[in-house]
Subunit: 204 residues, 2 copies
């Protein structure tokens, strides 16, 4: 990286730092992200980043926001593809899009869910997008029930159950609990199977 700079001022240092942090996280892991290294990659001194982010937490929060936007965008794309399907199948598509993004971007998902290392609750973006994804999940389940796809009429606890299942699979991947069962492809098929099994339990 280490972008060469002809002017004294960078021009778009803020975004460059976010991109650098995302790249470091992807290449070397989340805990290898340092303010200095992000600055270095952007071609700037070690103190410069602090003009744009008062603390490392503020930088990481902005990084999480960027990651969350990409996560949300990916889900939208996949849901659009599934637009003509029945509610339960769309719910499945959402779950699979979620899990695939996590497999493809483990460190970025890690940053999003690192709620103690970022100011999650203070970020409208993070809270809002998170809420959007949750709402999508709930709405699809309600649609599935309305369409008579479910075994039981009471879906009171199902959304939490579904979230816990997907989040659990995602975190198990992040935390290296699928390592013994092979690579990303194997993990993906296991996750997909698990999701399908769950849907089979719910469905008529």
């Amino acid at each position: 990286m280490t972008t060469q700079r002809k002017t004294y001022h960078h021009g778009s240092l803020r975004q460059a730092l976010i991109d650098a942090a995302l790249a470091i996280a992807r290449e070397d892991g989340v805990d290898q992200v340092t303010v200095r290294e992000a600055g270095k990659r952007a071609g700037v001194s070690s103190g410069a980043p602090f003009r744009h982010f008062p603390t490392k937490t503020a930088l990481m929060t902005a990084v999480a926001e960027e990651a969350m936007r990409r996560f949300r965008a990916r889900i939208s794309v996949e849901l659009d593809k599934a637009e003509r399907l029945d509610p339960l199948s769309r719910f499945r598509a959402l779950g699979i899009a979620y899990l695939r993004w996590v497999i493809d971007n483990p460190t970025h998902f890690e940053i999003i869910s690192m709620r103690r290392a970022i100011d999650f609750d203070a970020s409208e973006t993070l809270v809002g997008l998170n809420e959007e994804i949750r709402n999508l999940m709930v709405r699809m389940l309600e649609d599935a029930r309305a369409a008579g796809q479910l075994r039981k009429a009471d879906i009171e606890g199902v959304p939490l159950q579904a979230r816990a299942l997907v989040y659990g699979l995602a975190r198990m991947w992040i935390d290296g609990q699928f390592a013994q069962w092979g690579g990303a492809e194997k993990a993906e098929s296991l996750m997909q199977q698990s999701l399908d099994d769950f849907l089979a339990l719910l469905a008529k």
Copy 2:
């Protein structure tokens, strides 16, 4: 803490450091644990811990082992209480014991599942105890099937599903995703409900 010491040698510094680290984690959070502070609480200099643990990771691994032993012990106690119940109820007891321990010891569970910050795979204790808990889960599900308690005969994917659900609920608690729904009691009842809903889907 800052144990006073009359002899030059501590006598049991290794264990004192592990206990100190657990206490710091519980009181101030996992990332507040430093080798220096653990040494300080044990009443020794900042370099002394390195005689017992070559790296911070080694200390944290030992801490995780201690936490895992306590976790395992708690599960044993609760399972003993449920000894006379049917398999599915014992499975439920295991899940609830798991989740209650996490609620009572969030930072300790966090350390156990921090697989990048500890040498999980290099620790026979961690790998072994983890495997024991997983085997308990699987065995009880098989017993439940054998006892004709389940709707479907095929339980192929159920253990993973169950693990993901419980692990997901646990991590959601750790990651602060239950915060908006009130304190530990509320979270516990939500988790319990979620587990019961899942069992209801499985059961005949």
